[in-house]
């Protein structure tokens, strides 16, 4: 991390309620342009909601989202992805009637603003990075879980993003499959993408991120060096219940 790196994505005072249920409660979140941040927390902590608000899929009830310094709170998900801020789904949602290649091509043309050979090259690169070239011409509905997860990543990559928000991309995969995924995400880091990654499998997360945020009940309860966060008594209690410390 270099000291001159600036905050590329910011959420300030973010709140989100569904009726009487408060899912995000005054959350502040900052991501620097050269950073990979992990988000952990028990189910229902508001992690996915935070990512969805940041990506524009949901409008927050309160607070501001800034991307590259500009207020994008009122900007929709499509425009945000064209600006370079993209999110993957927790449960893969490929366009199942299309081939894997077409899935990625749609993203390259719509969000990446590419066409013709440029779009084609970007798709090949994204599929290659995700080890998917061999299934490029298969219909997405015929792909297994690992390839669907990879397709989520490849589709996000084809939008030429500067920030990628990953929602449990490793969930449900075997250890061996996870190793490949971690390698892909590391490569994304090397290519200069900033990453926010929600994951329950903490040891996987720690192979990639240099900062960890822990959320409980819609609030951020810890934020900092991953090892320090995981050792924080408040975090341990949130995970294992009172009496564990």
């Amino acid at each position: 991390m270099t000291s001159e790196a600036v905050a590329i994505l910011e959420g300030a005072g973010l709140s989100k309620s569904f009726g009487a249920l408060t899912v995000l409660d005054n959350v502040d979140f900052t991501l620097r342009s050269d950073e990979a941040v992990g988000i952990v927390g028990p189910n229902g902590a508001g992690k996915t909601t935070l990512l969805t608000v940041l990506s524009g899929g949901l409008r927050s009830t309160g607070g501001v989202v800034r991307f590259r310094g500009a207020d994008v709170t009122a900007v929709g998900a499509a425009e945000r992805s064209r600006l370079g801020l993209v999110k993957t789904h927790q449960v893969p949602r490929p366009f199942s009637g299309m081939t894997a290649f077409e899935n990625v091509y749609v993203a390259a043309t719509a969000a990446g603003g590419l066409n013709g050979r440029g779009a084609h090259a970007a798709c090949v690169e994204a599929l290659e990075l995700c080890n998917m070239l061999h299934v490029a011409n298969r219909r997405a509905e015929t792909l297994g879980l690992l390839d669907r997860k990879r397709l989520e990543l490849a589709r996000a990559l084809a939008t030429s993003p500067s920030v990628v928000l990953l929602d449990e991309i490793g969930g449900g995969l075997t250890d061996e499959e996870t190793v490949q995924l971690v390698e892909t995400i590391r490569e994304m880091r090397r290519r200069g993408m900033a990453i926010v990654w929600i994951e329950h499998i903490v040891h996987v997360l720690l192979q990639v991120v240099e900062r960890l945020v822990c959320m409980v009940s819609g609030r951020v309860i810890a934020d900092g060096d991953p090892k320090a966060v995981m050792a924080d008594p408040v975090v341990v209690e949130a995970y294992l219940g009172s009496g564990a410390t």
């Binding site: 524009g56 499509a78 425009e79 366009f95 299309m98 993203a107 719509a110 969000a111 996000a156």
Partner: protein, 298 residues
């Protein structure tokens, strides 16, 4: 009437049904809206072609080009100002909204043009009755062949557009999952507008062909909607080429019915639609029961 003639007339008639059905199919496929005003929009287009053609004394085919553009704009506005708002309130509201639109259109057309039955047949010269005589008992109408050709061309063009162009892929992506489409940079709202514009533009072509091959009045719309709906269901919802097959099956059923007894023209079509629907329901029910048996272990 020879069997070959019977089949040929049925197939050509099916071309018209495919033509009127493809817009309904597209709108349902992309927006999940059953547009109950579909037939009335076809009749509106027919009146537009008639008005432009007689007012400016131009060929109905030239008037149709202008009408297609006008109807595309109507489709876009329909989506932006009526369907988009109603879609936010669940599935029933768009159905009611298009039903209301259907009634409003019929009454507006009645107000503007009266109850007289019209046709564009007078304006297209010999095309209305010219035919190529294959044998003494078997001839093919040029107009019917033109309509069938138009249906195939339109379905082919739409199919290519959806498969090969960026906008077409964006429409397919949005049809499957609008939220995910937004995540990859597709403006779903704009895509819906384009899909509605294309859908209603195709209705304009169908409306003009209806007016050339038959007569119409302000209340002709609902019957056209039923034909379109039957063609889509027979051919399988969501498949463009299936729509052509559905249209042809419907046309054949009506031709066969009419041959047996002139009164059975419509009835045979409706019964075929009903048989296909019942067959599908029985198959699905069989599958559901099989699934239940497997789940219960016997």
């Amino acid at each position: 009437m020879s069997l070959v003639n019977l089949i040929a007339q049925g197939v050509l008639l099916g071309g018209y049904y495919a033509l009127i059905a493809c817009g309904l199919s597209l709108m349902f496929g992309v927006m999940r809206i059953v547009n109950l005003a579909h037939g009335d929009l076809a009749v509106l287009a027919a009146f537009l072609v008639l008005t432009i053609s007689t007012t400016f004394d131009v060929s109905p085919f030239l008037a149709l080009v202008v009408t297609v553009l006008i109807m595309a704009a109507v489709g876009w506005a329909l989506q932006r100002f009526i369907l988009e708002r109603s879609l936010r309130s669940g599935l029933l509201v768009p159905l009611l909204a298009t039903f209301g639109l259907s009634i409003a259109l019929e009454n507006m057309l009645f107000e503007a043009f009266g109850a007289d039955t019209r046709s564009l047949g007078d304006l297209i010269g010999d095309l209305v009755f010219d035919s190529v005589e294959v044998t003494s008992a078997f001839s093919l109408s040029y107009l019917a062949m033109l309509i069938f050709g138009l249906a195939v061309a339109l379905l082919g063009a739409l199919s290519l557009f959806l498969k090969r162009t960026s906008l077409g892929r964006a429409i397919r992506a949005t049809a499957e999952d609008p939220d995910t489409a937004e995540l990859v940079g597709i403006n779903a709202r704009a895509v819906y507008g384009v899909a509605a514009a294309i859908s209603v533009a195709t209705v304009a072509v169908a409306g003009a062909m209806l007016a050339m091959r038959a007569t119409f009045d302000p209340y002709s719309g609902p019957m056209q909607l039923i034909f379109a709906f039957e063609a889509i269901v027979i051919g399988g919802i969501g498949s463009l080429w299936g729509t052509l097959v559905g249209g042809v099956v419907l046309g054949l059923a009506q031709s066969v019915g009419a041959t047996l007894n002139p009164k059975w023209f419509l009835l045979a079509g409706h019964l075929t639609f009903f048989a296909v629907l019942a067959g599908r329901l029985a198959r699905d029910w069989g599958r559901a029961r099989g699934g239940l048996r497997a789940a219960l272990g016997f």
